[in-house]
Amino acid sequence: MDSVYLQVAYFVAALLFIFGLKKMTHPRTAVKGNALSAIAMALALVIALVARDGYVFITVGLMVGAAIGVWLATTIKMTAMPQLVALFNGLGGAASILVAGAVLMLDPHQQAHELIATAATGVIGAVTFWGSLVAFGKLQELKAFKKPFHVPSQQMVNGLLAAFILAMCALFVVLNTGHGLVYVVIVLAASVLGVLLVNSIGGADMPVVIALLNSYSGLAAAATGFVINNVVLVVSGALVGASGLILTSLMCKAMNRSLTNVLFGVMGEGGEVADADEVYRNVRSTSADDVAMILDGAQRVVFVPGYGMAVAQAQHAVRNLAKVLEEHGAQIEYGIHPVAGRMPGHMNVLLAEADVPYEQLKEMDEINQTLDTVDVAFVIGANDVVNPVAQTDPNSVIAGMPIIEVGKARTVIVIKRSLSPGFAGIPNPLFAADNTLMLFGDAQKAVLEILNAVKENL
């Protein structure tokens, strides 16, 4: 037992995590909240360091890790955020496995509850690590992960694997001497399971997977906490577990799909997909100059961004266009769909980066109520989140997903590079609607062209 003071300091660290998260509930205090959490982590670190000696090895490890972390965090593009989170998440899971394993090596004579916690850490950690790596690969669009490799009768294999892991865990606990080999087997089996599970899930469902794996990595940390009897790990692990679960459930709700549906993917199996050529017969395309003319008399303009805006990094261009239009007396708003982009709140982060005023951001339900009084609705690289099929075709794969009903606006201008589908892989009748004009091209380039045209028009 460490000195009581150290213990109390651990408590304080745990409380700081709680208060840090609490400050995350408001944009104004969120930076402080994140800082508080970081301070809590530093405090816990210092305590752990004080409680032991032999610093050399550790210091090197800390420095190496910190350097890599700083490098990744500062050089990454904002669009690559999802993969980065997946990667970090996986590393956390791996660390948990290693810690539990090392503890087991140092003292194989553990009590039952410690053995349970160790086994749990192994399973959850391994699933987290490998699942996150696969998710990373898919989001980064690495070649190897482009197409899920085929596993014959996958569901059964998964089931058998899970049963095997459970049995091994039971054995591990019953053996009661902390048999290292069994632990290794558990970790290996769970690794395979992690890869298989995530392998079969479509690339665009990765955000849900990441949130879930994030929750898991929290639980792994908490389990480690039970192994080494440490309150900070238990508390912060629980917090992360809760946070991941909530985000997962929110995303599923926004897509109107159940978690099972996401995880055991029936995506793309629902109903027959309408023929794209059929749907797109009447598509009309337009040019930047025409758009500028249409904008001339517009009183209310709404931008609906999607994943394409993130890809094209078009947020600054959009913001500049909006500014110019505002100067000409137009009222500007942004309609944000909860699952636009590839992470919850993805669009908010991008638009925040471009300094869009907070009041102009409207949530889906709010903007939908007033869309019929809008003159021009811009759809910037969004597709599924504005696809009316979700409401009209009950057999569609996105059936029931709430959408932003841009079709209600007087004119809809859709900016994307082609008629290729979005993540759900289905055609979008909006593009062929009477009041829709397509402006093909990279979102950033297209918006800049419109901007120039508008400026010339004056």
């Binding site: 982590m41 989170v85 956390g92």
Partner: protein
């Protein structure tokens, strides 16, 4: 949400019961087995409590020895009384509850930073890694070192990237 909450709480309670039950069963069932570590630690405790306060110099030595062996003892002792593990489980449940209460209040705008921020928090395993890293014995020390590196990347990178995102929000 409500359902998720209920479900996860039920699980937690179940977990608590199981673990507590096992801990109890272990106490009750396997007394015949030799438990060298527990006995050792108890003896140590007895010793410490009955020993007169050591003179200054000795005390310093003891203290440093204690810090050095803190980890080993922690692990070796394995010596949670069922009560401490039970309290930890209870704290776990309370923390999950608090997590749900707080996080349902985070506005959608902040969901991405929340995700990356809580991901950073899960790097807390670093504390565990610190306790096992570099304990001398080759393999486990190396494993610990690796754990330190990975967890540090997770924590440092996570907090930084979250800060980058949040800083954008604050400008406005």
């Amino acid at each position: 949400m409500q359902r998720v909450l209920k479900w996860s709480c039920a699980t937690a309670v179940l977990l608590a019961f199981t673990a507590a039950g096992l801990a109890w069963a272990e106490d009750g069932v396997k007394p015949a087995q030799p438990e060298p570590t527990t006995v050792k630690s108890l003896q140590k405790q007895l010793l410490e409590e009955n020993a007169p306060a050591p003179p200054k110099t000795e005390s310093v030595e003891t203290a440093s020895a204690a810090t050095a062996s803190a980890t080993a003892e922690d692990i070796e002792a394995g010596g949670l009384s069922p009560s401490v593990i039970a309290l930890l489980l209870f704290i776990f449940v309370l923390a999950i509850f608090i997590g749900f209460e707080i996080i349902t209040k985070v506005p959608p705008t902040l969901h991405t930073p929340l995700m990356s921020g809580s991901n950073a928090i899960s790097g807390i395993t670093i504390v565990g890694a610190l306790l096992v890293a570099g304990d001398g014995q080759g393999v486990s020390a190396f494993i610990g070192f690796l754990a330190v590196v990975l967890a540090t990347i997770n924590a440092v990178g996570g907090f930084l990237v979250t800060h980058r995102m949040l800083a954008m929000f604050q400008k406005r």
